[in-house]
Symmetry: C2
Subunit: 274 residues, 2 copies
């Protein structure tokens, strides 16, 4: 039997949703159906959903509710509707935090996400423009301005990672694809030589690379197992020879790659990227 | 005096960091210094940071610690080091959830983020390729394949929103910039007429648009207050005339815009976008 799960928030609900998914993933034998209700930012909207929850409860189908509301009155209303089935981030952590800090919380909405940080909005858009202009080695003359330059074979994950780093961290991330002529030697491509310290390499399992390229250009030389095998092998030799930090993207997600890279950069510069 | 805040996780720590920022934002009179330690995925790594925390405590500078660890033993170790100053997502919510579901949790790491969902990784990369190819009205012939088409004047937020929707929701989002010739009439541009149902409009305060464009092309006609005023006015008339849903991006973040759009799409199709 499937359990309905409501994700409720006075803002985007992205964090409440992440927490719900993380927690529910620990119960693989059960099935859940998530239903997201963001921006419940008025008494009326909250009251409507609270009544819906009460209705479901009366029908013996009470949903699980994961929520993030800064307003304590709203949390009280939901607690009345959900009882033990309510998991609210602020309810769980704010009171103990108030005791520790010796100060009562002043409800502030919408601070949940880095991207929401208006102060650096411009920096992020600037970084995004940079990432798009410097995608795929198309323009290499502004590498001096890059916070990081990702190198790797085609389809190793460079572009999504650069865009993620720009959107989330405001990092100016360029990427340079290693093509056959780069891979025939173990020399660093000339355009990269002055920027050795900015380089982070992405690698990937050749079989996975083959699968990804097959979807893009079925049956092509580009997608052939031999070509993928050769490119990855040559690329990894090059990375090793020049002591470039390498991240294997085969089994990890874009934001995992991004966090590894920001950690790399922090390790080098000592300063967090955003 | 600044309070040091550690963000610890066996995975990216992105969600633990979001929660920390959200909670601490409620204490504007205090100053905090966040320090992120992701991928603490071995006993040694955890032990090292636990000892560092104990050292700071002994020196009467105990940090606040926000964490997400699926392994209960790790949480115990950290609790021993942090005492009341530990805020762990799994510690707070897993036990009550186990009681409700009548099943004990099986620790699973790395399920925190949609992007981490391997099953749809390919869909997201496909969506990202689509968004980049169909950015800025450059190619309009594949609009039939779009999940959504964003329209608005230049610099109203279309591109970052499309990329976010692709990366996070796996949505094929195209965008079409309204230029002077489109704005001189209240007709929908010809290329958009067949896709009326896929359109979502972005608008922005003309003063804000002026500030943004000034940074891009200082002193240009493109950036002038009059031009910005005229474009936004004409665009909003067009949106109104054709009953296109409008999102004002002036004061909200990229992911707020994205959540509004996915809500729009769900409202239309009844099905969640990812």
């Amino acid at each position: 039997m499937t359990t309905r799960v409501f994700i409720l928030s006075d803002h985007t609900g992205i964090t409440a949703g992440s927490i719900a998914r993380a927690l529910l993933a620990q119960f693989p034998h059960q099935s859940f159906e998530l239903e997201e209700h963001p921006f419940l930012d008025s008494r009326d909207k909250v009251e409507t959903i609270a009544r819906e929850i009460e209705r479901l409860g009366a029908a013996h189908q009470p949903p699980l509710v994961f929520s993030s509301f800064v307003n304590p009155e709203v949390r009280e209303r939901l607690k009345a509707a959900c009882g033990k089935r309510l998991f609210d981030i602020f309810e769980a952590f704010t009171p103990p935090l108030e005791r520790l800090l010796g100060e009562s919380a002043s409800p502030v909405t919408g601070q949940l996400h880095g991207i929401g940080n208006a102060g650096s909005y411009t920096a992020r858009i600037k970084a995004l423009d940079y990432a798009m202009v410097h995608d795929d080695g198309s323009i290499t003359k502004n590498y001096a301005k890059a916070d990081v330059i990702l190198i790797g074979v085609s389809r190793s994950g460079k572009t999504p990672t650069c865009l993620y780093l720009a959107l989330h961290n405001g990092l100016q991330a360029a990427n340079y694809p290693l093509v056959d002529e780069d891979l025939e030697t173990t020399q660093l491509p000339a355009v990269l030589r002055d920027y050795r310290q900015k380089l982070v390499a992405l690698t990937i399992d050749p079989k996975q690379l083959h699968r990804i390229r097959q979807q893009r250009r079925p049956g092509s030389r580009y997608a052939s197992p031999e070509q993928c095998e050769w490119e990855v092998h040559q690329a990894e030799n090059l990375f090793r020879k020049h002591h470039i930090p390498v991240i294997d993207t085969t089994a990890i997600s874009i934001e995992e790659i991004a966090v590894h890279i920001t950690a790399e950069i922090m390790g080098r510069t000592g300063a967090p990227p955003s």
